[in-house]
Amino acid sequence: MIPVMLVGIITFVNNNSITGNVVAEQSDNEKIGTYSVMPSFRAKIDYSLQDYSDLKIKLKTAIDKCFASKQQDVKDCIRTETNKDGYNWNCNEKDSDVLYDFTDKLKECINLENENYVCRFSFDSRGFLNTEKPKRNFEIKLTNWYYPRIKAELFEDDDILLGTEFIEAGKLFYTDYENKDKESKNLDSITIKINYEDGIPVVTDSHATFKDKNIDRTVGLSKIFLIYKSKEGIKFIDERFESSFRGPEPANTIIDLPRMQGIDFCAKTGKKVTAYDASDGKVKEREIVYKFAIMLPNPVPAPVELFDAKDNLKAENSALLAWGKDSQAGIKSYSVYYSTKDFIDVEMSDIKKDNDIKKVSILINNPIEIEKVDLDKCEFNPTNEPCKYKNYGNPLLKNKLYYIKPENKFVYVLSDVDFKDETDYNIAITAVNDKNEEIDNDNSIKDNKNIFDIGKNYLWFSSNDDLPPAKIINLKKETGSDGKIKLLWDLPTKNLDGTDLSDLKGFNIYYRKYLVGPFVIASSNIDSSFSKKEIRVSDAGCSSSQPQCGYEMEELASGQYFISVAAFDDKNNEFKDTAQLT
């Protein structure tokens, strides 16, 4: 062993002004000292960060131009503007888009400002249309990462990892309806299986795993991604309680996602560097591609199609409106506009100011789903109830929305204070999103598709009054001292369907000789053998203050008669099943 004392300091200078330093030390092993050097460096590349500013300016110019010119399809306009003059800003579709389709919407739900919302979303076909392989099976797996992050991974055919994303979601929870704002049930992982066929995604399974007393258990989750956002974070919904969360306000506030639309860009500059890329796992010369995105407000809901109107059978002042259900997300309601004047070319902003154009809003939260209905036939069974539509066996109630599933269309029974039978109306319908936006009907915009179009979302219609007054009750007779017969009956106040009678015009009294027998209540059998006496309400001496009507039958000679009385309204609607006596 040789003790080595301080040997000295050697300094040298290289072109980066780095100084090396030697320190000797007392040592009983092979190490006799330490040499230290500052590893500072300088590196250079032919490149400028100015690219970012240039791209931003070009992008902003395109956005401003497309919005200023009120372009019909802003998204398409921006794409066009950013791809001209030799530029190519389009991105290639990639497998992992399936994952981002899901995680982008999940993040949007997480970032909603308010709480106690039900987020509703589904997969769209975000770019994933690999025609070479039309059938693909994906699986998204969510696991708790470290707080407050969860990890989302996309697999194909259960094992090939296509993408990973980390989301600030706190922890994975699921909930039933009762305890949605109370306790949280922790999950270990969530698995969502999606089958894509010809670019159309179908969720075949969504379930979660969790530990219950150290035993692994699973629970089925809502496949349409109803997710409850509470103070604690987001909670996936137990499939068994899905229907409770689907209920409309005030029970649930449902937010359809996404609320904005995005465009992603991949701007190519032609400049190249040597770099590694995980897509092919190689280091090679590559073009610098700038990836960025913009978010735009969702376009207003597209114009409604297949709009049709029919008379609401055996009902007054109402119409059956039918239209095709649109698959686009975010439609909160439909607006029906009607007026006796033509408004097909009137801008929506002016329509809203015009008091002559009436508006009815139809929320689509919870339509009554029906399989089959014949809108051209209905019958009363029994009376004093609305007419029941054939094939459905139930009445179509006023101001209710129905969804005819096999035909994928809505039917709404319009019955508004200002809507009257026998009036020629212009009727239009629009879909409205949660920001109360709808088509602008601005014909000054070139090629504007958001307009009223006859036969698609605008029509002329007039409904009929075919509802007779209800059956006469308490029909009786009095014989005067002069032997003349006086008929008495109660003033009818209801229509045949049980609604209030407001257009009673008079009564028809049918009579013919009756040979034998006591008083008999017979079914209607009024035929040509009957004589008919038509009287007005005033002739019967009844009114709202005098509820008993009466009429002295001077026409009758001596003998027994079969007599029937039926009420009729302004449109001469009369129920044939009349009150009768002998």
Binding site: V7, I10, F12, N14, G20, N21, V22, E30, K31, I32, G33, T34, Y35, V37, M38, P39, S40, F41, R42, A43, K44, I45, Y47, S48, L49, Y52, K60, D64, F67, C91, Y100, D104, N111, R126, T143, Y146, Y147, P148, R149, E165, G262, I263, D264, F265, C266, V273, T274, A275, R286, I288, V289, Y290, K291, F292, A293, I294, M295, L296, P297, K435
Partner: protein, 377 residues
């Protein structure tokens, strides 16, 4: 009569001189053989120093090349992420994410909103931040290169300056240390040498490889317990707890690796001030916002437990926080919280960060012991 040859007489003299020379040489050789007065030759240590200088030159060359590659890679990566770089792991629970988020994995530059019937394109991305973000991305890429070097080059060690079109200057804060050995140690490029094999700690060797200072801190940078490129310093007690945890890990066939430990208040202040590649002060100018992502050193050891020297950020050797799966986090947790001879946990875990453990009566450790738990917020 015998005649004398004069030439023969001359030869005899020559023979005599040679014999004397050989005799003396033999004497000296035999006389001094078996006696060693020096185990090296003159200038041997100077050669050792020169070898270290050569080693340092290699290291500097490696750093220079790494910087060049990292710069190209970073320009490519940053463009791919739209000029945005998110800090994935920070001191605080909050993820220092990008405010406007992403669409289809691309960062959003503009959000167009409709207000009072008018459209307004709100700017999300400030192109001036591209330089800061390039530095952060560059630092991450450079660190990946540096930890791959056979020697130990400090990571997260640079202050960056940019010059136009486009030059980056990295000013190192800490030097690279190269040991000077008596003898040249051949470089071992075999893969076997780089395999991660758990091995019991040799207390004597550990003592030699680490340094203790007068304030009771133990510097174990460069040892098997410290991630390559990281600077690892702990209070002596904490270090001993770590050694015990490593012993427990070895019994399970694994090894632990600390990648962050004691942080001086100057280092924490540098983080807070934005003097590190994260540039917290540039990202979050408002201190009330910044404090959500990085702890203010004014808060002391309670708010910034790494200042205590009793805290480690730790993982299994050969893994990163991203590649650790939940089973591995569980194993780490079980090892770190295993009981010592006093039936107390060696360390307790901060519930929200599976890599963060504290020991030795930090406020969090004391609270956990009081509550009888080994994981606590």
């Amino acid at each position: 009569m015998l005649r004398r040859n004069k030439k023969g007489i001359g030869l005899e003299w020559y023979m005599l001189i040679v014999a004397v020379f050989i005799g003396f040489t033999t004497f000296f050789v035999y006389h001094f053989s078996g006696q060693k007065i020096m185990d090296n030759f003159i200038g041997d240590y100077q050669f050792s120093i020169l070898r270290s200088v050569q080693e340092s030159e290699k290291t500097l060359f490696y750093v220079d090349q790494s910087a060049q590659y990292s710069l190209e890679q970073s320009v490519y990566d940053l463009a791919n992420s739209g000029g945005v770089s998110e800090i994935e792991i920070s001191d605080e629970e909050n993820f220092a994410g990008y405010e406007c988020g992403k669409y289809n994995d691309a960062y959003v530059w503009y959000q167009v909103i409709k207000k009072d019937g008018k459209y307004d394109a709100q700017e999300c991305f400030d192109e001036k931040s591209a330089e800061t973000n390039l530095a952060y991305t560059f630092n991450r890429n450079l660190d990946n290169y540096l930890v791959s070097y056979p020697g130990n080059i400090p990571t997260d060690n640079y202050k960056y300056e940019f010059k136009n079109n486009l030059e980056i200057i990295g000013l190192a804060a800490l030097p690279v240390y190269i040991n000077i050995f008596k003898k040249e140690i051949p470089e071992d490029f075999s893969t076997e040498a780089r395999e991660i094999k758990p091995k019991p700690l040799d207390a004597k060797q550990l003592d030699k490889d680490t340094t203790k200072n007068s304030e009771g801190f133990r510097d174990f940078t460069g040892t098997d317990l410290c991630a390559k490129g990281s600077r690892c310093v702990l209070k002596e007690n904490a270090f001993q707890q770590l050694v015990k945890a490593q012993d427990a890990a070895v019994k399970k066939g694994i090894s632990l690796e600390v990648y962050s430990a004691y942080r001086s208040s100057e280092q924490q202040q540098a983080l807070w001030n934005g003097d590190t590649p994260e540039k917290y002060a540039d990202r979050y100018k408002d201190p009330t916002v910044r404090i959500k992502y990085v702890c203010d050193p004014k808060g002391g050891e309670i708010k910034c437990p790494h200042l205590s020297g009793n805290v480690v950020d730790i993982r299994l050797k050969g893994k990163t926080t991203k590649t650790m799966n939940s089973a591995e986090w569980n194993i780490l947790y079980s090892i770190m919280t295993s009981a010592d001879s006093n039936k107390q946990p060696l360390w307790v875990k901060y519930s929200n960060e599976p890599w963060h453990f504290e020991c030795c009566n930090t406020p969090r450790y004391s609270r956990a012991i009081e509550k009888g738990v080994t994981s606590i917020v």
